[in-house]
Symmetry: D2
Amino acid sequence: MIAEFSIVPIGLGESLSAHVARAFEVIESSGVAFEHHAMGTNLEGDWDEVMDVIKACRDSLLETSGRVSLSIKIDDRKGTRNRLERKVESARRKMQH
Amino acid sequence: MIAEFSIVPIGLGESLSAHVARAFEVIESSGVAFEHHAMGTNLEGDWDEVMDVIKACRDSLLETSGRVSLSIKIDDRKGTRNRLERKVESARRKMQH
Amino acid sequence: MIAEFSIVPIGLGESLSAHVARAFEVIESSGVAFEHHAMGTNLEGDWDEVMDVIKACRDSLLETSGRVSLSIKIDDRKGTRNRLERKVESARRKMQH
Amino acid sequence: MIAEFSIVPIGLGESLSAHVARAFEVIESSGVAFEHHAMGTNLEGDWDEVMDVIKACRDSLLETSGRVSLSIKIDDRKGTRNRLERKVESARRKMQH
């Protein structure tokens, strides 16, 4: 499955990049396939693998923040793999121009 | 923490209520505090309790659908409980009129 | 269509209920059908009606906050009306027990 | 502001790439800055510019589908521009290793 998620500490100020950097460290040391973009990170793997990474990011941010907000979107399709890059390519091939 | 989630099988037709009914059965037999509304269900509990319910709903829908889409939004605030009904009330008390 | 949305000012502290109260005032004076719940508000109406309310909430919060985060989820089904309460009821009728 | 969105027709089958391709055509001919990724598209611009593109994608998909589901996430920060690529870079610079 592919999951996109973003995590925001509430009440730690308007600049979030230092907190996002800590989440990046958790994600990039996890071994799970990932793709960062401007609004979150996409992960690909089994349910438990992916959810373990998201939980570890949440645990890390709760060390310094009393409240965190998470958003997770999942596309779970049986029998598929390596879709992280192929999904955009697959749609692009079907464009008319 | 409070989590809101919704789950949609992709490719099984336009009417979703029978599939939502199966998710309701999983949710309501789980023992976790819940609140259904027109766009999803809110759950309150620990991370693992809540995520186990969501995973069980996904497993149930994947029995009949080859592809499911999930959306999860989490508000995780340390040291709080019983917020499922209190959050709306808390804001309403601060309204000016 | 039905839209669910939530809005959070980033960097104004951990307690959000006073800000949510201001959004409630905008929503409840708009004339658009609404349903508050613990994780957001559901609105029902045409695209422009609903988006005007959401934009007005965002404008209101940006008066006091330099950064706001919004989450919007839309279920747009042709030829349907008055689904705000009926969606839960419709699924419940199909439950097996 | 930056907005991420994804749009899914409900009931048109399990493969969505042809529908996504139509949304890509709307997005890429709009003139608004965009970034496609595996779980959606990020757009950067004013509220009205961005929402006009999303509405045009929805209108396009409703021509062939009776029901569409949209998910929109917005990060609206006053006085900022050109954040589509800079957000990831900004967090990466703050990583410890």
